[in-house]
Amino acid sequence: MKHQIFFIARKELRSILRQNSLKVLFTFVIVLLGFALYAGHISYKQQKSMIETAQKERRVEWLGQGNKHPHIAAHYGTYIFKPKTLLSLFDFGLDTYTGTSIYLEAHFPHDFMFRPVQGYGNIVRFGELSAALVLQLLLPLLIIFITFQTFTKEKEKGTLKLLASQGVSMKIVYLGKVLAYTLVVFTITIPFFIGLYLIGVNNNNDLVLTDLGLRTFLLFLVYSVYLWVFTSFSVWVSLQSSSARSSLLTLLIFWIVTGIIIPKTSANLGETIYPIPSMKMFKEDIQNDIANGMNANDTKDKRIERLKQRYLKEYRVDSIHQLPINFSGIQMQEGEEYSNKVHDFHNAKLYKKFKLQNRAGSFMSFIAPYIAVRNLSMAFSATDWYSFNDFQEKTSDYRRHLIRTMNNDMAMNSKYGEFYEYKAGRNLWETIADFKYTIPKATMNLKYYWIELVSLSIWVLIMFILIPSSFKNKLD
């Protein structure tokens, strides 16, 4: 049986090699893949260099800001730039749509600024060329073009009946064909992912991404499964179709509906079902909660009074002037802590809506495998929303640590009612270590993508179920 499958596969490969139009398409996809990788690499290097330079400058600025009151330093703050992850050269993911830098300042947890898309104009909405795009959308189209008449042609020429008369079962023909086309796809993907890994190893001189090998392997695995599913499905459609034309039409419709229409409509539907507030109202709600409290009758004034009484009682004094520490610093830090609590609450609510919106898309991956591979590809390239959110959380932690250090220093080393009299210097600024970021391991991200993993597994299962039985001959 194995021998027969290989025989059919060899015959199929020879037939593919004879078709000049397919050779042209094959070359086109490879050139596009190469160009996408090249462009991604250049872009990655450019962005990386800009970000590293800017980050170093900001660090020098922070350390060299001179002697000043810690609260002024907390307002002066610093900036953090989102580092380009190495695998973003393969899949840009959401990098174009998330902010690139954040200003860390006392009292105001700013949002990320400068989404690159804001400068790219209308054309960017048509999509950017990345190697991931080629593998997700263009290679499946090549698969359609090479497979749509694999069975219909045999039916028209009568060669299928000839094979059957020689005792070759439909299952063997089917498996042979799937094997042949899978091999064609693998001749593109295997060298590509090896190349991607080598480029990665050659460029991975920072600690942002520590599991390049695993991530590249996971990407290879996901794309192999996706492309195998697409290949098997295309061959199956050809088997089921009465003519090459209907096979081609069915496959093209499947490609457009699952690759273009469903991903867009599901994302739009998700947004309609789970609407998010405008930035203005979002900020107003936060400010309102900070001023009036998250619980009833817990205004800012009352919280300050409570804090004051607590400290007076703790230190057994009658006035905050008698406290051995500067109450202003304590009050500021308490204000920060409360503000952090309010922000965390509202951000959690907002991110829950983002997740629900995205989940609407994820569920559609049961119909459109493209969505599953797109989301997993972004996740393994660390350019997905969860990776961005992790970075966002780390910058928030860093900001909180910075502000807390400044406030504590103010509380411990200055007196209540004095401001200009106390100045901290480089010794204090140096206690704030430079911001370093490492992307969590790829395996940590998997828990967010169980729907995509299940849907891809179901697609694989369906493809196995669709394999014709040995005893059932379609020709009968």
Partner: protein, 474 residues
């Protein structure tokens, strides 16, 4: 005329019998309706945000005005009156909003409206501290894009055209009907053109019906915008019909014709724009890291030193000839004047960097625009965005208008602050107002040019197809 009716009747029957084609037409129509609904709901949400913003602003200023008529007994009342009347507080507390209202037809093509902020909160403190925020958005949603009616016309209608026309010649040949058609006196080319025309009328009618529904749900409609919209859609669909006529003229089998048509669709809608974006990323990268420092909230090194404070005020007043005499008044509200001067000087200092950033964007978009003529899909999307004022140029005009608005706000408060004049109740009648300036002449010129390019391309393809059809053997 009789022949046209006869052929069109035959095509109608053929469509009615073809379940697949009926489903396809129905699906595209329903998707079109959903796209209009989606666009409309998105703009409604934005309109609600604009209303909220306007309400917040008007309530705030109403409170300030009312504070002139209260007795200021409580601390809060006193504070409110201080903010309302004393420019030393008002210059950084009074919040204005610059709003980019949506065009009546914006729901048809959302363009950049989900990416660029459409309102800004402004005080007379540093412009750049306030300018670079973003609107809340789910990045994954931004990445996927909008399913508006322009998407349906640009992406899906060409597929409809391909599905209906790819087999007009080849299928007749494959079904053995071609020899019969050749026997007709009117000629094969004419029959083919009449059949294509039938689908042209059908699909164009569908686009007009959907556009009309889109116009009907619009809150207001400018007739010229509506006319240009329909014209742009017609030009684009005509281009695709011309392209299909060209492929049919090559007289290849139906599979090859459909593969070529699908490849062209892929080329215009995905490959070409994607490659162009990649090219722009390499050749014209935008470095926004230089702007990070610009947005920083700065404080004066030695703000407690009166000499340093006055030096800052003097430096600012040196640039303001219209505030002569303010030098002698700097002992009152010194700290407020110092910080007001400091933020204005800082903005002046950073203007070059901000300009350089916007120049990078303008250069990138200018270079990309040079390739627009090559791709009618990108060109038409640009035209549609331009008609409904959701293109990036509108946002650039918005930004320039904000700069002017900020200048007006600054002038209003700084004049009173530096000349020690309180804000009076009457001053509230002359508060700065935001004026959005869009260059309509340039907009119309760009639309006309874009339409001319698509029309010329279509015309040339039709001519070439007619020539090829006669030359190639059946």
């Amino acid at each position: 005329m009789k022949l046209i009716l006869l052929l069109w009747q035959r095509e109608s029957i053929s469509i009615m019998r073809n379940t697949f084609q009926i489903i396809m037409l129905g699906s595209i129509f329903l998707l079109g309706i959903y796209a209009i609904y989606y666009g409309h709901s998105k703009i409604s949400v934005q309109q609600k945000a604009i209303n909220d913003v306007e309400n917040i602003e008007s309530t705030e200023f109403e409170n300030y005005k009312n504070s002139f008529n209260t007795k200021h007994i409580s601390t809060k009342e006193k504070q409110l009156f201080d903010i309302a009347s004393n420019p030393a507080f008002a210059w950084y507390r009074h919040q204005y909003h610059a709003i980019l209202p949506s065009n009546g037809l914006a729901h048809l093509s959302l363009g950049q409206r989900d990416i660029e902020p459409y309102y800004y909160k402004l005080t007379s403190s540093s412009l750049y501290y306030q300018l670079f925020g973003s609107e809340l958005a789910n990045p994954q949603k931004l990445y996927v894009g909008n399913f508006d009616i322009s998407f349906v016309f640009i992406y899906l209608f060409p597929l409809l055209i391909i599905a209906f026309t790819y087999g007009l010649y080849a299928e007749e040949k494959e079904n053995g009907i071609l020899p019969l058609l050749k026997l007709q006196t009117i000629g094969l080319r004419k029959i083919l053109i009449l059949r294509i025309l039938f689908y042209y009328v059908l699909i164009v009618s569908l686009s007009i019906v959907l556009s009309s529904i889109g116009f009907m749900v619009a809150t207001e409609i400018n007739l010229m915008d509506g006319f240009l919209w329909v014209l742009a859609v017609l030009c684009y669909l005509s281009f695709w019909f011309a392209l299909m006529f060209f492929l049919i003229s090559l007289k290849r089998n139906s599979s090859l014709t459909s593969i070529c048509a699908a490849s062209l669709w892929l080329l215009f809608l995905i490959v070409m724009p994607a490659v162009l974006n990649a090219y722009a990323n390499i050749m014209y990268p935008i470095d926004n890291t230089t702007l990070a420092d610009v947005t920083r909230r700065r404080s004066i090194e030695n703000e407690d030193d009166p000499n340093e404070a006055k030096a800052i005020i003097r430096e600012y007043l040196h640039k303001r000839d219209d505030l002569k005499g303010a030098d002698s008044l700097m002992n009152i509200n010194t700290m407020a004047k110092t910080y007001a001067s400091f933020t204005a000087l800082n903005d002046n200092h950073h203007r070059k960097e901000v300009l350089a950033y916007y120049n990078q964007i303008a250069l990138r978009q200018k270079k990309i625009a040079q390739f627009r003529w090559l791709n009618p899909a990108v060109n038409t999307q640009g035209i549609l965005n331009k008609i409904v004022e959701t293109d990036s140029k509108v946002f650039q005009s918005f930004y320039h208008s904000i700069e002017n608005f900020h200048k007006d706000i600054t002038k209003f408060y700084f004049n009173r602050l530096f000349l020690n004049k309180n804000i009076s109740f009457e001053d509230y009648n002359t508060l700065p107002e935001f004026n959005l300036k869009i260059d309509k002449t340039a907009k119309n010129q760009q639309i006309r040019y874009g339409l001319a390019v698509v029309t010329t391309t279509t015309f040339l393809i039709v001519l070439l197809s007619l020539f090829i059809f006669n030359k190639r053997p059946s």
